[in-house]
Amino acid sequence: MGIFRISPPFLAGANRVTLQMLQVLLAMIPAVFAMVYFFGPAVLINITLALAVALASEAVMLKIRKRPVKPFITDGSAAVTAILLAVAIPPLAPWWLTTIGVMFAIVFAKHLYGGLGYNPFNPAMVGYVLLLVSFPLEMTTWLPVISLSENPVDFMSAFQLIFHGETSSGLAMDTVSGATPLDAMKTQIGQQILPEYIVNQNLFGIFGGLGWEWINVWFAVGGLYLIYRRVINWHVPLAMLATIFVFSSITAIFAPETTGSPLFHLVSGGTMIGAFFIATDPVSGSTTVKGRIVFGAGVGALTYIIRIWGGYPDGVAFAVLLMNMAVPLIDYYTQPKVYGAVK
């Protein structure tokens, strides 16, 4: 017989932070494989590096803050942060970039605010935005999809590029990199090229960016699994996706020359990972049901606005951080009506 709780309720609920985080990690696997399929093994190197840095920073911070290391390091939250950030960083980004981003996320965005449960901002997005504004060049040079690449990067060369900046055969970063479809869309619309022509280029696939469309689909599949397992709830993703859809439909109807189709926006860039894995972060999101809908809609609207009018190709990270700031206000105004409250 173990030691049991001495205060009610005495029944054990199945819910556990660790289990939830494990489910989140599990749900990301298909999309990560899709990324490996489209961009090569560099993605895995990046993730491994991020995981190592995250867990080490977490352990050090827990020690410094004199918190028990084991229950917190095994809660899985640092791992989730690491992977979310790793897949947002270009696969061949130099090792120090990933390291800085992850360390900043864990040390500053998480632990200096009090650790798990206390961070007002999504740590992965704080790390990402820091990198984006400090190293815009490194952060926007993506790999082209393998099938389009003249120099597909194998595991060894990926390793050398990440840690040395060039391969032993002298191949450097700029020779293998390319723009993402969202980038391309934005730049070329800037050059007055009509979206319908842009999507005919080989950078684009059936309904979105080549490769990206499937990565987004797999993130969505993982997300639906999480909803099914009740790890996340449907309010945030639905509100965010619906808002993006509505906004892009409006533009598609009234100003079709200014941007891609609604479908293109739904399966591009960070839309799906944002909707199902980032904006659903409970700690930095709203806790009430109505609040979650407001939060999700806000993230969707800001994402779209930044994509179209902002200076960056994708806006998920900024949108999430901006909405994080609004959470206390949202929570306050969306309290549910208690039982028996006068109508």
Partner: protein, 508 residues
């Protein structure tokens, strides 16, 4: 049969584990040598002993009278001798002792002459309530509120619906279930009386759908009783905490009891099935409340079941009768696994509110260090009162009690749903109980200081009044003097000056 009209938010689907204790019929617990009867087994003022040590008492004899308005009487559960009237350990989470009457039973179990009511329909509601109060009947669902009060709707209210709560939503507990199966007749006796006393327009017997045997027993009994009018059985979905009074009302009627209000405000009065049975016994058989059915169950109980047990029986004897693997002084749970509390101590007696004794829970929650709140909101989704438990937790922890009130702490029914679902395993209910106790203590302090201030202010006011009265008297005296002076002045002006000086010297 009628259909539920509503449902409540949140709640849980829990594994009931009820079969374990419904396999054998209700058994009688053997008479114990000593019976320990706490004077307060109900909400309200403790009863006051009317016997003395050494007195011989008969079964059913009143041994303590109700004190004040919210209180009920207490009776000897069996015949014997009063052995002590002193402080004893009572089954309360505080672990404190409280005044009890201890009876040494003589084994005769000899009744005091019972005086059944021939026809309760000839009696007024007031007379019925008096008998119920004198019979010591309290809500047997667990809260222990004196039942006669809930049979008095007051002059301003009509009772639309008398609701009989047979939800029994907590896992493991089956005492109402067994009562329905075996004594549906007796329950309806009480229901008839209650309907008469309340002049309730209709009666709904609400039973969760996990008790089909109970439902059919009740259907049979109801069919055989055409005089019970406008009475129907409502089978409601099994969900925790449907048995909460407010939740049940919402399920049955689709209406909500106003916050800070009572069910009677929306024309509803609810009683537990076991209470109805006790009312029937008291009126029709002249038997006061001296025993109840207690579920004894759990993984460590060999002969789990329901036991008709005299109040005052030491829980250890009841457990011995049911046979458990429990070692002496090992803790057990009194009540259900969601809202009960942990007790240890072998001499604790069975009281009026003891519905279940649980030894060994199947999916027992391990003691664990809680992680921080990750604001997942699962607790809010589970809360049947639509509260925000994470906010309540946050403010309770910070002892920010004004904020906990703003977040409606006092609407929390302590059902434990939030606690159960919390992924960080935070003991939320304990925090809420703590905050409630603190606030109530503060309030008591407040009242005390208010009283002191009031006294002080009354005193000041009195002093002020006295001063004013004195001044008034002086003024009058002066005026009188002045008047007489003026008279005198007219008569003898020469003496005027001396007179005035004298008056002034008198002043004090």
């Amino acid at each position: 049969m009628s259909k539920p009209l509503g449902s409540f938010p949140g709640g849980l689907k829990l594994n009931g584990h009820k079969k374990r204790s419904t396999q054998s019929p209700i058994r009688k617990t053997p008479l114990a040598k000593t019976l320990i009867l706490p004077l307060q087994q109900h909400i309200g003022a403790a009863a006051v002993p009317i016997v003395e040590v050494g007195d011989k008492v008969l079964k059913g004899q009143r041994i303590a009278r109700a004190e004040g308005h919210v209180s009920v009487c207490l009776h000897a559960p069996s015949s014997g001798t009063i052995k002590a009237i002193d402080e004893q350990a009572i089954p309360h989470p505080s672990g404190l002792n409280a005044p009890c009457i201890t009876i040494e039973t003589d084994g005769e179990d000899q009744w005091l002459e019972r005086q059944p009511v021939k026809n309760f329909r000839d009696m007024s509601a007031h007379e019925i309530r008096q008998i119920i109060r004198d019979a010591g009947i309290v809500g047997l669902g667990g809260a222990g509120f004196p039942s006669f009060i809930k049979l008095n709707p007051g002059v301003h209210h009509d009772v639309e619906t008398l609701l009989l709560n047979g939800a029994e939503c907590e896992p493991y507990i089956t005492c109402d279930d067994m009562l329905l199966r075996e004594r549906a007749e007796g329950i309806l006796d009480g229901v008839e009386i209650m309907q008469h006393a309340l002049r309730a327009r209709n009666v709904i017997l609400a039973i969760e759908d996990n008790k089909p045997e109970g439902v059919s027993a009740m259907e049979l009994a109801l069919a055989a009783r055409p005089q019970l009018q406008n009475t129907s059985i409502m089978v409601i979905p099994t969900r925790y905490p449907t048995g909460g009074e407010k939740q049940l009302i919402q399920v049955v009627t689709g209406k909500q009891v106003p916050s800070n209000g009572l069910p009677i405000d929306i024309g509803i009065v609810s009683h537990n099935m076991g209470t109805a049975y006790a009312v029937g016994r008291a009126i029709n058989h002249g038997e006061p409340l001296i025993s109840r059915i207690v579920t004894v169950t759990g993984t460590d109980v060999t002969h789990a079941g329901n036991f008709e047990t005299l109040f005052g029986t030491p829980i250890s004897e009841l457990l011995a009768f049911a046979e458990t693997k429990r070692q002496p002084d090992e803790p057990f749970i009194l009540g259900g696994p969601m809202m009960g509390f942990n007790l240890s101590g072998d001499n604790l007696p069975v009281t009026k509110t003891a519905n279940c004794i649980l030894v060994g829970v199947d999916d027992a929650a391990p003691a664990s260090e809680p992680l921080p709140c990750i604001r997942c909101g699962d607790c809010a989704t589970a809360c049947p009162a639509s509260l925000l438990p994470q906010q309540l937790y946050w403010h309770s922890r910070a002892k920010d009690f004004d904020q906990t009130r703003d977040y409606n702490l006092f609407d929390c029914i302590e059902c434990g749903c939030c606690d159960y679902v919390c992924p960080s395993k935070i003991p939320l209910v304990s925090y809420f109980r703590f905050a409630k106790t603190e606030i109530m203590n503060q309030e008591r302090e407040h009242q005390k200081s208010d009283l002191a201030r009031e006294r002080f202010e009354t005193r000041l006011a009195r002093l002020e009044r006295e001063k004013q009265e004195k001044e008034e008297r002086q003024r009058q005296r002066k005026a009188a003097l002045a008047a007489s002076k003026a008279k005198k002045e007219k008569q003898e002006q020469a003496a005027a000056e001396a007179d005035t000086t004298a008056t002034e010297n008198k002043e004090n």
